[in-house]
Subunit: 152 residues, 4 copies
Amino acid sequence: MPYEFTRERRVAFAETDLAGIVHFSNYFRYMEETEHAFYRSLGLRIHPSEGPGVGWPRVDVQCDFRAPLRFDDVFEVRLLVREKRRKSVTYAAVFRKLDGARTVVARGAMTVVSVAFDPSTGTMNAVSLPSDFDARLEVAPDDVLAAAHAER
Amino acid sequence: MPYEFTRERRVAFAETDLAGIVHFSNYFRYMEETEHAFYRSLGLRIHPSEGPGVGWPRVDVQCDFRAPLRFDDVFEVRLLVREKRRKSVTYAAVFRKLDGARTVVARGAMTVVSVAFDPSTGTMNAVSLPSDFDARLEVAPDDVLAAAHAER
Amino acid sequence: MPYEFTRERRVAFAETDLAGIVHFSNYFRYMEETEHAFYRSLGLRIHPSEGPGVGWPRVDVQCDFRAPLRFDDVFEVRLLVREKRRKSVTYAAVFRKLDGARTVVARGAMTVVSVAFDPSTGTMNAVSLPSDFDARLEVAPDDVLAAAHAER
Amino acid sequence: MPYEFTRERRVAFAETDLAGIVHFSNYFRYMEETEHAFYRSLGLRIHPSEGPGVGWPRVDVQCDFRAPLRFDDVFEVRLLVREKRRKSVTYAAVFRKLDGARTVVARGAMTVVSVAFDPSTGTMNAVSLPSDFDARLEVAPDDVLAAAHAER
């Protein structure tokens, strides 16, 4: 479905810290990896090597943590399109540890904006979503978002 | 002042991504580095090598981004204690690029909770702030927080 | 075969730098991830949550780079056991981009030592390889190593 | 002296792993940070925002580890120019923990090559060192290199 995507991942050793758990900054990398896998699944390419420079900087990100992930844990990131605006997309994310209990370990959100790079000045300006992104990405239905939000 | 701390930092090459800007996940590392420098400035030690295992996992973090940081940019992170509860502390952060304009490039927030590690079970349980943290950390006055929040 | 293991991987966005290529430090993370996947494939567990603390610090690592990897590139890491000593294992690694040409983009090596953590002093001391590691890990035959070394 | 540079650094929390020590991949980041600080100290700019794209990819890197660094440890990286060729520079690095004993905790080496980016093809080609780099960087005298190599 073009409004959500789920990706499985295993915690790498280098992603842990001395507390024995995944360093919290990595959850944002996990979210971004899932976003990119979602685009691939829809045939969308970001950062094409040819053509004008389009980018997807994040403008607002958030994550809250309920339980830790540890080395070698297998988990999934479920990403849902929560909102689509003219120049930006907002995702919600649910992180679930893939043990028997399938515990929700974290929840996050991320707003990304499409920008054009101006190589002459080095600046980035927000632009309308590329037409293929706008055409393929759908906003998740309210009941799906509500159910995802309520998951334990 | 035991309710705020400012730390200067330079963007490292490895912190950039192919868009030529600091990868957003690093802002959370910058916040945490500043938090730890704040503790050092107050004579507080986290993760002492001896004694019972106390940790400071993050339970909720957020950051929004207004302008990019690039390789070699010098910036400051100003951290303010926004709230202190029995088992947790919430920080607000203002990231400012140290060029002539001193532009605010990002703002963040971070709630950290003090936990005790139980080595026999590998679990972490929230506990009251260690007494020295509780005694030294002060909550920033409302007008200071409001002024920081209004900075451009 | 218990003397080599190959793992496929895709370059994540956060692993690139402003030069548009994978930051070189990540090749060491790729090697370590492959090493751990190798152990899993043999039923070997590192860092068990229970039992005495055994670790596998690296004592010598090396990598040379022939061609860059870029965002979204799919590549493989082939890891071979080059040498096994009483307390250490040395791996050779060949990184190959999985495009039509299957170009070798990098080669590395890594010597890891098994250590026991002494919680009372916080020190690590080299110890004999755990018996299950010693029993399962085999050294690659000379001709396999020579062929891997000669690959272009 | 334009053939060596020493930089002090403190271990950040996010640089540690579950073994309680600095993840080995970070030593390469420390080396690169020191290299860039060295260039700054000589008035040399890499990755200028204007002008033709010049880069400094690494072609061969190595590090061996004698003792761990832990969270909050203060250490220094001493970088020496070991060799200068027409298109490349090789550095040696000595990592020393800044405790009373000033223990050497690691040693590394890194060969970097100057390349020109061809934006039309996305390729990088090795080119002669930029003239200002060639003029300012000196090779360390043999006795200095030998003494650094012999340090304990």
